[in-house]
Subunit: 218 residues, 2 copies
Amino acid sequence: MSAGEAAGDAPGTGRLTRKQQQAHTRSCLLHSATRVLTRRGMHRASIDEIAQDAGFTKGAFYANFKSKEELFLAMLDERFAARLAELDRVMDTDASVEDQAQNAGMDFVRAIQGEQEWGRLFFEFAVHASRDEEFRAEFTTRVRALRHRIATRLEERLEGLDWTPPISTEEAARLTFAMANGVALENLIDPGSVSPELNGTMLTAFFVGLRAASTPSP
Amino acid sequence: MSAGEAAGDAPGTGRLTRKQQQAHTRSCLLHSATRVLTRRGMHRASIDEIAQDAGFTKGAFYANFKSKEELFLAMLDERFAARLAELDRVMDTDASVEDQAQNAGMDFVRAIQGEQEWGRLFFEFAVHASRDEEFRAEFTTRVRALRHRIATRLEERLEGLDWTPPISTEEAARLTFAMANGVALENLIDPGSVSPELNGTMLTAFFVGLRAASTPSP
DNA sequence: CCACTTGCGTACCGGGCGGTATCCGGATAC
DNA sequence: GTATCCGGATACCGCCCGGTACGCAAGTGG
């Protein structure tokens, strides 16, 4: 019933069995945590439930994690990485800035429509972060990193163009992030209400407006 | 210790004492609910705590409300009304659409910075709504009403102009709402990171971009 | 003035949750 | 092979919360 796995041992040469055994348990717990947390929400999901979903007990959990928060952060890392990869794909195109905004916007909405549950969780994390100092430190660190990456990409993209926006790329990235979250929320409480196209239009309009308010570059 | 208030009875003439007594209790509970819920969050705040803060007990609570959700909805109504009044003030100006966007945006950020706690609560409601069908129905009804009012104001404002935006006013209102929420969230997890000016810039850019993508009106 | 209604206080139940102390059995070291 | 270690299971505790049944005293209608 539990995760014996006694069969394999280590393949071929050495056996770090003890350590890699625990690593396996940990990853099982993490995986189940994702499932249970998205399904039930961060408040209804109990540690017990997560552990049992993974085929373990609370004992296993507390041997691997200090609290629920650790779980959250690990999940955040995964998702943020995925979103960045997506952004990179779009930005490596050689379309215009406005078109890239459109594409990125459409991609984003498709992504969140495909994983509504994750969106919910994200907001729960965010609100929790705003109430818990310790968690917030960890949370914002990660958000900041993501935003900075977006800003950097934007910076590169705008470099060499004949206009510079009236706000810094960091600010632009922040607003982009905010808009994305706002749309995600909108689609949460009213599913499908913001289509990929609509979101694309918004982002495009934003960048067109930014360009209109820009100063010419040297 | 409890809320006797036996002193007053009804002033002067008649006394609808029984009914207006209960109304008073109810409003006390509502007021305390606002305080406690914003301070502690919708999950940590217990019904007991709310009742005690108002100087009553759970008995009083259950005599006046069916659940916590009812409280939330009453609070929503209050706040939305306030926000609408604010919007009306700005829209009654005769500035340009872009300037009004700027002003409305700045107003909004000032408002949410003045009542961070309420912002938190709002997101908690929203997420809860996305998880609870029944509550969501009530929640979205109110949100829709607010959004529709915004759309109407926008419609009036755009009427008679020599351009029509590429999206409907309802869609524009929705996006505006989304952007506002996104910025609110941003300011929650990173207080002060979106200044009134920055938010104004965003909204302005958006409307400028919309105008650029518009078709000329007859 | 009396019977009845009712808003609210009180006491209590059931249950679930986070956290911990303790124990077991297989892996590890020598 | 034996002593040791440690990941994980089990059992258990304390706490608090939502909800309910009931009692009381103050208001209400005749």
